[in-house]
C-alpha cells in the first residue's frame, strides 16, 4: 500500500515539479526556435508514456497485491497485445524522430548568405577572427602559433592581411544576420556554447568544425566552454554581444587587423626611462616595490602584463571599485601615460630592471601550500615563472603581501569583477577555491620558496 501511494505521489510530484519549476530553458536569442518545439513534442509524448506506464504500474501493485485465496493468472504471452504495443511505440518514436531529423537537416545546411566568423579556443580563453574587407579568412597553421602570432596566421597569404583579429574573449555579432561559426582549437577539445543560441559544437584541434545561427535579440550573452578542457575548464568564459548594425560597425572600426598587428613597433626603453621617473617615486628606482607605499615590485613582471594593467587602470576596468583603495590611487597615475606608445615604452624600460628578491612577510606552511599550488601552476607555471600564452603573469619573486591583497580582492570581487576584465574574471573563480586566510598564507609561503 505504501508503495502504491509512493508511486502515485512520485508521478504527481514529477508533474508538479515540471509545471511549477522556475528552472527552464533561458529565453531564446536565435533562429533555433524549432529546437524548442522539438523538445516540446518529445516532452508531451514521453510525459504521456511516463504517466501511463507508472500509473498502470501503481494500479497493478494495488489491485493484484498478495491475497492467499487468489492465484495469479497463467498467461505465457499475448501476441495481439504485444504487437499493438510494439506498433504504438514505433509510431510514437517516429513522431519524435521526424521533427528531429528535419531540424537537423536545417542545422547541417548553412545558408549561402551567412557570414563567416572564426572562434579560436585555447586553454582557457576565447579569441575570434573575422574575414575583413575581402570576406575571406586567410590561411592558418597551428605550427605557426607564437607569442607574436597568437592566431597562427600565415605571413604569405594575402587574404589574411586584412583579417580582423580579436584578441579578447568578447565577440560582437550584428542582429538578424546569419552567421557561420568556424570553430578551431589550439590545444585540446573545447565546446562553444551560448545557452540562448541553443546550438553548440566542439572545437577540435587539427580540424575546423562549424555551427550556424541567426541572432534574433540584442544583448550580451555568456559564452561557456562545455567540453572538459583541463583544470580551469569552468573558468573558460567569454561574451557574445548582439547589437544593431550601426553599433556593430562602430565596434568593428576599433578592431585591428593582422597587418596592423605586424606593424606595431617595439617599445623604446630609453624614452620609457624618463617616463618611469614618475613611477619610481613609489615603485622604486629598480622597480623593487615599496610596502610602505603599498606599491608592488615591478621588476621581473612581463611587459605585456604591465601594459594590460595600465590599460585597465586607464579604462576604469581596474582600480574603479570603491573598496580598492590602492587601485584607486594607481588609476590617475596610469592616466599620465597618454597613449599606447607611451605604455609600450615604459613597459620596455621596466622589463630591463632587476631587483633583489622580495623578503618574506608571511608565516605559512610551504609543504601544504605546494599542494594548493597545483591548480595555480597549470597557468602560472610549475615554478611560478608565468606563461604569456595563457596571459598568466610571473608569481615567483613577487611580494607576498601584495599577492595576498590581490587574492583577497579577487575573492571578494574587488578586482576582476568588471565585465571587460577577461583574465581577472578567471582569477575570481580560481581564487575562490582558497577558502580561508591560512590557505592563502600556505600558498604564498610556498611561492616564496620558488
Amino acid at each position: 500500500m505504501k508503495l502504491v501511494i509512493a508511486l502515485i505521489l512520485l508521478i504527481v510530484g514529477t508533474l508538479a515539479f515540471h509545471f511549477w519549476s522556475p528552472w527552464w530553458f533561458t529565453p531564446i536569442a536565435s533562429n533555433w526556435g524549432m529546437i524548442d518545439t522539438t523538445v516540446d513534442i518529445t516532452l508531451w509524448i514521453t510525459g504521456f508514456v511516463f504517466v501511463a506506464v507508472n500509473a498502470f504500474l501503481a494500479y497493478c501493485v494495488y489491485r493484484f497485491r498478495h491475497s492467499p485465496d487468489r492465484r495469479a493468472d497463467y498467461e505465457p504471452e499475448n501476441k495481439k497485445l504485444e504487437t499493438w504495443l510494439t506498433v504504438g511505440t514505433a509510431v510514437g518514436v517516429a513522431a519524435m524522430l521526424a521533427p528531429g531529423l528535419i531540424v537537423w537537416a536545417d542545422f547541417v545546411n548553412v545558408p549561402d548568405d551567412a557570414t563567416e566568423v572564426e572562434v579560436l579556443g585555447m586553454q582557457w580563453q576565447w579569441q575570434y577572427r573575422l574575414p575583413g574587407a575581402d570576406g575571406v579568412l586567410g590561411e592558418v597553421d597551428a605550427r605557426l602559433i607564437s607569442q607574436d602570432n597568437p592566431f597562427g596566421m600565415s605571413k604569405n597569404d594575402p587574404a589574411g592581411q586584412d583579417d580582423v583579429l580579436v584578441n579578447s574573449n568578447e565577440l560582437h555579432l550584428p542582429l538578424d544576420r546569419p552567421v557561420k561559426l568556424l570553430l578551431r582549437s589550439k590545444d585540446v577539445l573545447h565546446n562553444f556554447t551560448v545557452p540562448q543560441f541553443r546550438v553548440k559544437m566542439d572545437l577540435v584541434p587539427g580540424m575546423v568544425t562549424y555551427a550556424w545561427l541567426t541572432p534574433t535579440r540584442t544583448g550580451k550573452f555568456d559564452v561557456l566552454c562545455m567540453e572538459l578542457c583541463g583544470i580551469a575548464h569552468y573558468a573558460m568564459r567569454g561574451y557574445v554581444v548582439v547589437e544593431e548594425q550601426a553599433d556593430y560597425d562602430a565596434w568593428m572600426a576599433q578592431q585591428s587587423t593582422w597587418a596592423d598587428m605586424q606593424a606595431i613597433p617595439a617599445g623604446n626603453a630609453d624614452v620609457g626611462k624618463t617616463t618611469y621617473l614618475t613611477c619610481a617615486a613609489c615603485h622604486g628606482q629598480q622597480g623593487e616595490g615599496n610596502p610602505a607605499m603599498n606599491a608592488p615590485r615591478l621588476a621581473g613582471l612581463p611587459g605585456w602584463y604591465i601594459a594590460r594593467q595600465l590599460k585597465h587602470y586607464k579604462q576604469g576596468i581596474r582600480g574603479a571599485h570603491e573598496d580598492d583603495e590602492y587601485g584607486m590611487q594607481m588609476a590617475p597615475m596610469a592616466n599620465v601615460l597618454a597613449n599606447d606608445t607611451a605604455i609600450r615604452d615604459v613597459t620596455a624600460y621596466i622589463e630591463t630592471l632587476h631587483a633583489r628578491p622580495a623578503t618574506n612577510t608571511l608565516n605559512g606552511d610551504p609543504a601544504r601550500g605546494a599542494g594548493r599550488y597545483v591548480s595555480c601552476g597549470a597557468c602560472h607555471g610549475a615554478n611560478g615563472e608565468g606563461n604569456s600564452a595563457l596571459q598568466a603573469p610571473r608569481l615567483a619573486g613577487q611580494d607576498d603581501w601584495y599577492m595576498k591583497r590581490q587574492l583577497h580582492n579577487f575573492r571578494h570581487g574587488i578586482r576582476g569583477a568588471h565585465k571587460e576584465d577577461t583574465y581577472g574574471h578567471q582569477m575570481v573563480l580560481m581564487a575562490r577555491s582558497l577558502k580561508d586566510e591560512q590557505a592563502i598564507n600556505d600558498l604564498l609561503a610556498y611561492l616564496n620558496t620558488l
Binding site: 497493478c60 493484484f64 537537423w104 567540453e227 572538459l228 575562490r432
Partner: protein, 581 residues
C-alpha cells in the same frame, strides 16, 4: 584448456580442505563470485565517497577546503570510471554472472575453473593499479571518464603524467580479466547446460548475462586498442590521436592525428558497455518480478528476442554520444534513427515487466520493492534518453546536467536497484540466512525516494543550461540564484542516500553474524538454482547426480497444479501431458 573441471570428477576427495584453497585460491564459481562481488562493492564505496565530496563542492561552493579544481576533476574521473567499469561491470558479470550461470544452467562449475580464478586475481590487480594512482606524483587522472585526448595526456589536466598511464594500464589489465571471465561465461552457457536445459528454457538472468558477455568480448577490444594507442602517444610521442597543438604556449612535436578517431573507438566500446550493464540487470529483474508476482514472465520469447536485438543494435548507435563532437554532421541522421529504433525493444521490455505484475499475486518483499522501483526509475531514465538520442534535442542539452541526470538514472540508479533486488533475492541462497526485512525496507525507501530526489531536479539544471564537470558555476547571465539552492538540496539528498547505504552494510553484517536460518526456498522460486542438494550449495553444486530439467523456469500458478510453482527439475505429470499446455 583440456582439464576436466575439478568439480566434474566423480569423487568427493577433491573438495578443497584448507582455508586457503577454500576461500582464497578457490576455483569454486560461488567463492569467486563473492570475491568479485565484495571487491566491486569495496571500490564502489570509494567511488560513492568521491561523489559525496563532489556534491559537497557543488552544493556548497566556497565552503570546503579539501577540494580544489584539480582534485574535483580527479574525483569526477575516478568516480565515473570506478562506477562503470570496476563496480557495475565487475559486480554484474564477475559477481552475479559467476554465481548464477552454473547454478541456473545446472552445471557443477564454470567450464574452466582455473581460468575463472585467474580472472578474479587479474581483476584485483587492475583495481590495485587503479587505486595506486591516488598515491603517485600528480595523483589520478582528471580527464573525465571518457579520457579524451589531447587533454588527457597534456599538461593542464590533473594527473596527465602518472595518473593517465596507470589508468590506461589498469584498464588493459581489467580487459584481460574480463576476457578470461567472459570466455568462461559464454562457454559454460553454450556447453555445460544440464540435460533438458534448452536455450529457451534458460531463465532471463542467464540470457541477459550471456548476451552482455558477448557484447563485452566484442566491445572491450575497442577500449584496449584505444588505450594502447593513447599510451604510445603519451610515452613514445606517436601521433595516432594527437594533432599539432600548442599546449600552454609550447609547440609540441605531435602532428596530424585525429582526436575524433579516439572518440569513435571509445564509444564503440562505450555504448555496448551501457548494455553490458543493462542487459544482466534486465534479466535479473525479470526473474525477481516473476518469482515475487507468482506469475510467469510475460512474453518470455519477446523478452529473449528483445535482449538479443538490443545487444545487436548496441553496436550501431555509438556516435549518438558524439553529435556535437565535430564529426561529420551527416552521421547525425543515421545514428539518431538507430538510437530511437533501439527504444522499441527496450519499451517492450518495460511493458512486459508491468504486464507480468498484471493479474499477478504480488508479494511486496524487499527484492520485489527494489524491482518495482527499478521499473519506475528505468522508465524515467529511458524516456529522457529519447531526448538525448534525438540529434536535434541533443544540441541544447549535451554536456549539461541533463546528461548527467539521464545516465545516472538509467545506468546508475536503475542497475543499482536491480543489484539490490538481486542481492536480497539470492542472499538466502548464498548464505543460507535470511536478512532483516525491516532494515531492508528502510534501505529501499531511502534509496528509492532519495535517488529520485537527486536526479529529477538535476534534469532541470540541464534544461537551464548548467554545464557538467564545472568545479564552480560563478556568475552567469542565465542561471538564477535559485539554482544554487536546488544544487544544495540535491547535495543533501545525495548525502542521505549515501549514508543510507550503511543500513545495507549493517544488515549484511548483522545477518552474517547472527541472522536467522532461511528456509530452503524462501520465495518459492521455480528456477534451478534453488533446487540444489544443499543451501547454500556446496562445491560441485548438485551432489552425485546432475539435475534433469523438464520445463521452463517460469511455471508459476499453473492451473491445476498443487502448489503455485513447479520447480524446473520436476518431471512432467501425466495430467500435464494430456492437457499439453
Amino acid at each position: 584448456m583440456q582439464h576436466v573441471a575439478l568439480a566434474d570428477r566423480p569423487d568427493e576427495l577433491h573438495d578443497p580442505q584448507t582455508f586457503i584453497t577454500k576461500y582464497v585460491w578457490s576455483q569454486d564459481h560461488k567463492v569467486i563470485a563473492i570475491q568479485y562481488g565484495s571487491t566491486a562493492i569495496f571500490v564502489g564505496l570509494i567511488a560513492l565517497v568521491l561523489s559525496g565530496l563532489m556534491r559537497l563542492q557543488l552544493g556548497f561552493p566556497d565552503t570546503f577546503d579539501f577540494i580544489d579544481p584539480n582534485s574535483y576533476l580527479q574525483f569526477v574521473t575516478m568516480h565515473g570510471m570506478i562506477m562503470v567499469i570496476y563496480l557495475l561491470t565487475a559486480l554484474l558479470l564477475g559477481g552475479f554472472g559467476n554465481y548464477l550461470i552454473p547454478l541456473m544452467c545446472g552445471a557443477r562449475d564454470m567450464v574452466f575453473p582455473f581460468m575463472n580464478m585467474l580472472s578474479y586475481w587479474v581483476y584485483l590487480l587492475s583495481v590495485i593499479i587503479l587505486l595506486a594512482s591516488f598515491f603517485v606524483p600528480g595523483g589520478p587522472t582528471g580527464a573525465g571518464w571518457t579520457l579524451y585526448p589531447p587533454q588527457a595526456i597534456l599538461d593542464g589536466t590533473p594527473g596527465y603524467d602518472w595518473g593517465i598511464i596507470l589508468m590506461l594500464v589498469s584498464l588493459a589489465v581489467f580487459i584481460v580479466a574480463f576476457t578470461m571471465g567472459g570466455l568462461n561465461y559464454v562457454t559454460t552457457v553454450l556447453q555445460a547446460r544440464t540435460h533438458g536445459m534448452t536455450l529457451m528454457r534458460m531463465p532471463l538472468s542467464v540470457w541477459g548475462i550471456f548476451v552482455a558477455t558477448i557484447l563485452g568480448i566484442l566491445a572491450f577490444p575497442a577500449l584496449l586498442v584505444s588505450a594502447i594507442m593513447m599510451l604510445l602517444d603519451k610515452t613514445l610521442h606517436t601521433s595516432f590521436f594527437m594533432p599539432a597543438v600548442v599546449s600552454l604556449g609550447e609547440n609540441l612535436s605531435y602532428e596530424g592525428g585525429s582526436p575524433i578517431l579516439f572518440q569513435h573507438l571509445f564509444w564503440f566500446f562505450g555504448h555496448p558497455e551501457v548494455y553490458i550493464v543493462a542487459l544482466p540487470a534486465f534479466g535479473m529483474v525479470s526473474d525477481v518480478l516473476s518469482v515475487h508476482a507468482r506469475k510467469n514472465i510475460f512474453g518470455y520469447r519477446m523478452m529473449v528476442w528483445a535482449i538479443v536485438i538490443i545487444g545487436a543494435l548496441s553496436f550501431v548507435v555509438w556516435a549518438h554520444h558524439m553529435y556535437v563532437s565535430g564529426m561529420h554532421p551527416a552521421f547525425g541522421f543515421f545514428f539518431a534513427t538507430t538510437t530511437l529504433i533501439i527504444a522499441v525493444p527496450t519499451a517492450i521490455k518495460v511493458y512486459n515487466w508491468v504486464l507480468t505484475l498484471w493479474r499477478g499475486n504480488i508479494h511486496l518483499t524487499v527484492p520485489m520493492l527494489f524491482a518495482i522501483g527499478f521499473i519506475f526509475t528505468f522508465t524515467h531514465g529511458g524516456l529522457t534518453g529519447l531526448f538525448l538520442g534525438n540529434v536535434t534535442i541533443d544540441l541544447p542539452l549535451s554536456d549539461t546536467y541533463f546528461v548527467v541526470a539521464h545516465f545516472h538514472m538509467v545506468m546508475g540508479v536503475s542497475p543499482i536497484m536491480v543489484l539490490f533486488a538481486a542481492i536480497y533475492h539470492w542472499f538466502p541462497l548464498m548464505t543460507g540466512k535470511m536478512f532483516d526485512e525491516r532494515l531492508g525496507k528502510w534501505h529501499f525507501w531511502c534509496t528509492f525516494l532519495g535517488t529520485y530526489a537527486i536526479y529529477l531536479p538535476m534534469h532541470y539544471l540541464g534544461f537551464l543550461g548548467v554545464p557538467r564537470r564545472y568545479f564552480a558555476m560563478g556568475t552567469t547571465d542565465f542561471i538564477p540564484e535559485s539554482a544554487q539552492s536546488l544544487n544544495a538540496g540535491i547535495t543533501v539528498a545525495a548525502l542521505l542516500v549515501g549514508l543510507s547505504q550503511l543500513i545495507f552494510l549493517y544488515n549484511i553484517f548483522k545477518t552474517l553474524r547472527s541472522g536467522e536460518k532461511s528456509p530452503r526456498n524462501p520465495w518459492g522460486a521455480a528456477s534451478l538454482e534453488w533446487q540444489t542438494a544443499d543451501v547454500p550449495p556446496h562445491h560441485g553444486n548438485w551432489g552425485k547426480e546432475l539435475p534433469q530439467v523438464h520445463r521452463w523456469a517460469y511455471d508459476y500458478s499453473v492451473p491445476g497444479a498443487a502448489e503455485d510453482f513447479i520447480p524446473q527439475n520436476h518431471p512432467v505429470t501425466e495430467d500435464e501431458q494430456t492437457e499439453g499446455h
